[in-house]
């Protein structure tokens, strides 16, 4: 059977441009024992993909090799199987890649058909796990503390803030448009949302966090970082989830001086969900609990067709996506 896939032709210079990809037509293979074939239905577009495109020694996973199908997370349906643990008709999620069909592996996880795919992609999988891990396992807030989330309207940030509310924190979100801020305050129940593009950030954070910031969930880097950092309380914790504003820069911008890390006994800690697979069952359970109580709202931004990923992935870095980016195949 023929199917389409998108290969990485060369590494991006700063920004992701269409010419670094090539759409090719491939043949599904004849299955060997224990193999199964997945028809991908939903491809997840996530900021981490940008780092996978770079040949960066420091990265936590091998970069995608030039000439290989682009890597991504996704959801699909098993359409053919020679593996009894993965029967035809099951829904699976895992590392799929930019392809209409994928050969399954035992790192794929079967998920219940009852759970809406939207909830799966927007909450129970990468965004929810990342938000939960960063807030609850890395930052470890106490009820009553003040949390600032940057990239707060993003798929991870919006959940980190809502988990913060569910856990009794005062939550301040920083986002890049009035529309996003309104969504955060009106729909998601953030205590305050600040549009960093138009606000006097220093003044707004002083007003919104008069007793300082205890936990900072950092998604973006950029000019927001130093301002929030200056407002950290002693023993503050900063979970460094991502640096969206840096991904497309040649030289990442410097960070704050460590002098305040010393004087205020701050903890600045990075994390990557792939390092914490052992905690997934417990985190999935916690996320399911919030979801059942109606504490986690989400919105999905759907693109259609494999090729829409090529331009679509840039929406993550321009901030023009309206919710979790998913390509429906």
């Amino acid at each position: 059977m023929e199917y389409k896939a998108i290969k990485l032709l060369k590494r991006p210079q700063n920004e992701i441009t269409a010419d670094i990809f090539e759409t090719v037509t491939l043949q599904t293979p004849a299955l060997e024992k224990d193999q199964f074939l997945v028809k991908q239905t939903h491809m997840s577009l996530d900021p981490a993909m940008r780092t996978w495109m770079d040949d960066n020694d420091d990265s936590y996973v091998e970069p995608v090799a030039v000439g290989d199908v682009m890597r991504s997370f996704g959801v699909g349906e098993i359409v053919e199987s020679k593996n009894d643990n993965y029967p035809v008709g099951s829904r699976v999620l895992g590392m799929t890649g930019w392809a209409e069909y994928v050969l399954g592996g035992d790192d794929m996880q079967i998920v219940p058909l009852e759970l809406p795919v939207e909830a799966l992609l927007c909450v129970m999988y990468v965004p929810g796990l990342t938000a939960y891990l960063g807030l609850m396992e890395i930052a470890r807030p106490k009820a009553g503390e003040t949390l600032v989330v940057s990239g707060a309207a993003g798929s991870v940030g919006s959940l980190a803030g809502q988990i913060g509310k569910a856990e009794g924190l005062r939550v301040i979100g920083i986002a890049g448009s009035d529309e996003k801020c309104e969504w955060l305050e009106q729909e998601l129940g953030f205590d305050k949302a600040i549009n960093y593009k138009t606000a006097d950030l220093e003044a707004e954070i002083s007003a919104a966090a008069p007793h300082g910031v205890d936990v900072y969930f950092e998604n973006t880097g950029g000019p927001v970082q130093q301002v929030v950092f200056n407002h950290m309380n002693r023993f503050g914790r900063i979970a460094v989830c991502g640096m969206i504003s840096d991904y497309n820069r040649e030289e990442p911008a410097p960070g704050p001086s460590w002098k305040q890390i010393n004087l205020k006994a701050l903890r600045v800690e990075g994390f990557v969900i792939l390092d914490h697979y052992d905690k997934i069952p417990q985190m999935t359970e916690a996320l399911g609990g919030y979801l059942a109580k109606g504490q986690l709202k989400y919105r999905i931004h759907k693109l259609h067709g494999l090729d829409s990923a090529i331009d679509g992935v840039n929406l993550l870095f321009s901030g023009n996506n309206k919710g979790k980016l998913v390509v429906e195949l």
Copy 2:
């Protein structure tokens, strides 16, 4: 009885200059119930004193008020007492200040007369507690890992490196003179010491830590910081003990981008010994253990007479001290 003390007249502009202090003559008070009088014998000069001189909202303790006696740690002998818990003849340590006589308080700790004052000041008190706390409680290394210590010939850095050796780490020290480096390698058993003022730091660290750096004990900030940071391994830990190179600057220098903190899942954590008084008994016991096994060597740099503190304190920031700075009274 008359005694001399040194008051802080005004706050320093960047560097510490003699004109910000004034030596005054005071009278020892008549003791009330529960009070005791300490004749200070040894005043400890420590980098933290620089931060106590600034009126900095962010600091972990109140600054020394203008017009007050300068704050410091020290050791003395009880010469008069109306407190049964603090008998005359006992040796005590605590926050004494720049004064020949001090009114004791119950935050002072009685220490055994058998322990040499040198070992007390150089190991069992501020430097040793700080080194142990930062390395063993904050960074938490595993045997076989590679440790880099900046300010490695300083009172804290030299102990952090030696504790690292005692705990089975590969230890690389960074210091500011060939003489210091020789001391670290020949006397203290560091695996490698690098003179950052003359070496190609990048090349030397690559050679000394071919498999990267797992733990960085950071005392200085400055240009060394970014180079060591670039060599951190995934899951590396950085204990931020001090920023000596920043203390006398108006604007602290920026730190490394947080991008690598994210990608490498690094933990950068500051600490201040005053926050960890509860751990002092356990840390003192551990330090005593190393000392008994001959695993901790030290050298003391003695100044003489109260007034020698005024110029002497700058030796900490110029790096011209040869060992733990102590003023003998």
